[in-house]
């Protein structure tokens, strides 16, 4: 651990953001369970009393970490970070690593549980495109409203109004309610307002992943201008190309901690190296779990071929299987496990899971189970990844991201050609002759 004084002596630049020992603890379920009614609270009261007394006993016996009471987890822990004026810092990490939590704390949307952050300068955050848009209001009205919500002064919005309208390309529709806009127009207008925000420190989360390719290019260009203009920028994205293009340095977060910091190329490389480390058939290391340990831990995923044997890949158009080996750490009657298939750019191709088919899974404390799924293979040959989501009742309790799935083309000599597209559609065709105006021949 370096002490804070040393950090300040090391640089001659002015500090923009200084973070020391920052941590955020969530109650399990707090982030997912939407809301409660009094009845829910009453209904869970007996279980809560039972659990807490049991957990208290367990804590006494097992020496629980007093910082992490049962039913809580740290989304972010012990973060030390110095960002100097003019730095463009990329923040990378898998889902649930704590990126968004860090941004939300720095943007003052949520409070930290521990630690301290000091922010020097006017801060603007862009965690979503179109924050504060109201569909009933016109484009013109929304520019002012959204601008004010993002932190611009009225005079400032007036000054930039023309530029915003130009950037969005919606000048003909300024007085039309935004609800009549196409989706693309809405996004363009929203981003245009956000892009003209000129705070000293800008916090950006994933907003470049909207709109069509051309507009995305325009956005990245605009972001480059902002970053090049000497402003401090914190940038979160899953798009490594954009991160590399925009940032000079970066940090890699894993399960709430910074595991690497330095030049952006090194950080991205480390992220990619870690992102592909889980292989089917091998134990899943703790850092791949969003929460570890959790009540139901999926500790290995096997990919099965058509005969139900573990395999390294599956063949195109051949049925295959998944076997999820899990260990329950608490008896519950209502576990669910879902698996999502993604392409490398994040597009979700499909989801399978027990929540769609079976009743909820009943598992007992200490039990080890193999959960097997069989499915038709419609994917075209290529590399995909699978995310495993585990829930207990309404709360998501674990999330394992990025288990690769290889779909291999069927070898030569086989009759089946590979069809173009993400999925292999099977169809049957027939041919009949018609007369000139399209009626079946020989009709009345």
């Amino acid at each position: 651990m370096r002490n804070p004084q040393q950090w300040e002596l090391m640089s001659t630049d002015k500090i923009a953001i200084q973070v020391r020992g920052l941590g955020k603890r969530y109650r399990l379920g707090e982030t997912h369970e939407v809301y409660r009614t009094f009845r829910d609270t009453l209904a869970t009261l007996p279980a809560w009393l039972r659990n807490t007394s049991r957990e208290r006993r367990a804590a006494k016996a097992g020496g629980h970490d007093p910082e992490t009471p049962p039913g809580t987890f740290w989304a972010l822990r012990g973060i030390d970070l110095d960002v100097h004026e003019g730095d463009v810092l990329g923040i990378v990490g898998r889902n649930g690593a704590g990126k968004s939590t860090l941004l939300k704390i720095l943007a003052r949307i949520t409070e930290p549980t521990r630690g301290r952050a000091e922010i020097h300068g006017r801060i603007g955050s862009l965690l979503e495109v179109g924050t504060g848009f109201h569909l009933e209001l016109s484009g013109r009205e929304n520019i002012f409203l959204s601008g004010a919500i993002l932190g611009m002064r009225k005079a400032e919005i007036r000054r930039k109004f023309e530029a915003i309208v130009d950037f969005a390309g919606v000048d003909e529709f300024l007085d039309t309610p935004v609800k009549r806009y196409s989706n693309g127009m809405r996004v363009r207008l929203a981003f245009a307002v956000a892009a003209h925000l000129e705070p000293e420190i800008l916090i950006v989360d994933e907003v470049l992943s909207v709109g069509d390719a051309e507009f995305q290019k325009k956005c990245v260009g605009k972001m480059k201008d902002v970053a090049g203009g000497g402003r401090t920028v914190l940038f979160v994205s899953h798009n490594m190309q954009a991160v590399k293009a925009l940032c000079e340095s970066g940090i890699l977060l894993e399960r709430g901690r910074i595991v690497q910091r330095g030049p952006i190329a090194d950080v991205v490389e480390a992220y990619l190296a870690r992102a592909t480390a889980v292989e089917p058939g091998t134990p899943i290391p703790p850092e791949f779990h969003r929460r570890y340990p959790c009540d139901l831990e999926v500790f290995r995923v096997d990919v099965l071929n058509r005969h139900g044997e573990p395999a390294g890949f599956v063949l195109m158009e051949e049925p295959f299987g998944l076997r999820l080996h899990c260990r329950a750490r608490r008896s519950r009657p209502d576990y669910t496990v879902n698996v999502q298939f993604r392409r490398d750019d994040g597009l979700v191709l499909g989801t399978i899971g027990t929540s769609y088919v079976l009743d909820r899974l009943e598992m007992r404390d200490g039990g080890v189970y193999a959960l097997t799924a069989r499915l038709k293979n419609v994917f075209s040959p290529g590399q995909y990844s699978m995310d495993v989501r585990v829930a207990a009742g309404p709360e998501e309790i674990d999330f394992v991201e990025g288990i690769p799935l290889t779909v291999a083309p069927v070898t030569a000599g086989d009759e089946l050609p590979q069809r173009e597209g993400v999925v292999q559609l099977r169809s049957e065709w027939s041919l009949e002759e018609e007369d000139a105006d399209g009626a079946p021949q020989g009709g009345p």
């Binding site: 003052r108 949307i109 949520t110 549980t113 922010i119 002064r153």
Partner: protein, 298 residues
Amino acid sequence: MNQTVDDMPREVHVIEPSRGWMHVHWRELWQYRELFGFLVWRDVKIKYKQTLLGAAWAVLVPLCQMVVFTVLFQRVADFSSDGLPGPLFYIAGLLPWNYFASSITQASNSMVQNAPMLTKIYFPRLMAPATPCAAAFVDFALAFVMLLALTFFYGIVPGASWLLLPVFMALACGAAFGAGSFLAALNVKYRDVRHIVPFLVQLWMFLTVITPYSAVKDALGAWRYVYALNPMAAVVEGTRWALFRHLNGVELLPGRPVAVAPGPPWDLFVLGTAVAVAMLAAGIYYFKRMERTFADIV
């Protein structure tokens, strides 16, 4: 105003876990006044968007209430109205009451309604329940025009005590904002609030608007002090008193001179104001205490 950013001293924000009593950052609220203005403007603007009659609703609703109350409570049931014609008596109560009811209903929903904003952007959270309390003044102002028309119809000249009306509206505003921010914070955690509020508002209205305090005094005796704990009773009675005290003894209804209390009913005002101030403090306190977790659970 602010030319170049570099000339200005950098603002410094310290982000730390809050503990204990959370202070309201008055200076920050002042800095965000422009956004507050925009939010109020948005509320007013969208309230009557895509309605046929638009802002006429602000007049129509109290007008209908007034007619029904007059027919039912004055003509049919012959309730006391301190010698005032029914329309005047009821509209004087309905104006501040409708302001309060609309403020508290909207405010209690404000945090949930603005959830997308709460989880994506920082602004002083108290502004969410405060916005409807400010926006509801627009409806009040429109309905007040109707009151002016009515007084003209009855040939009444405004009295000097009309200048006291803002005092009672301030009291209504404080009570609405206090209760509204309490309910808004509670609503984040327990959605039962949205079922409770309409029902609560309805009951509360019957307790407040229908009868003059003189009748309550006669019927309840010493129990009237319990009745007086309702701050809106002070507001409604005070509004009637301020509007019509100069008409005492005038016969607007044949054979029934106006009998509004010549001096203000102090017991009602003192108790009502004390309760309104307590509601305001408690509402803000509870809101600030819950504030740190809003974005996590809303």
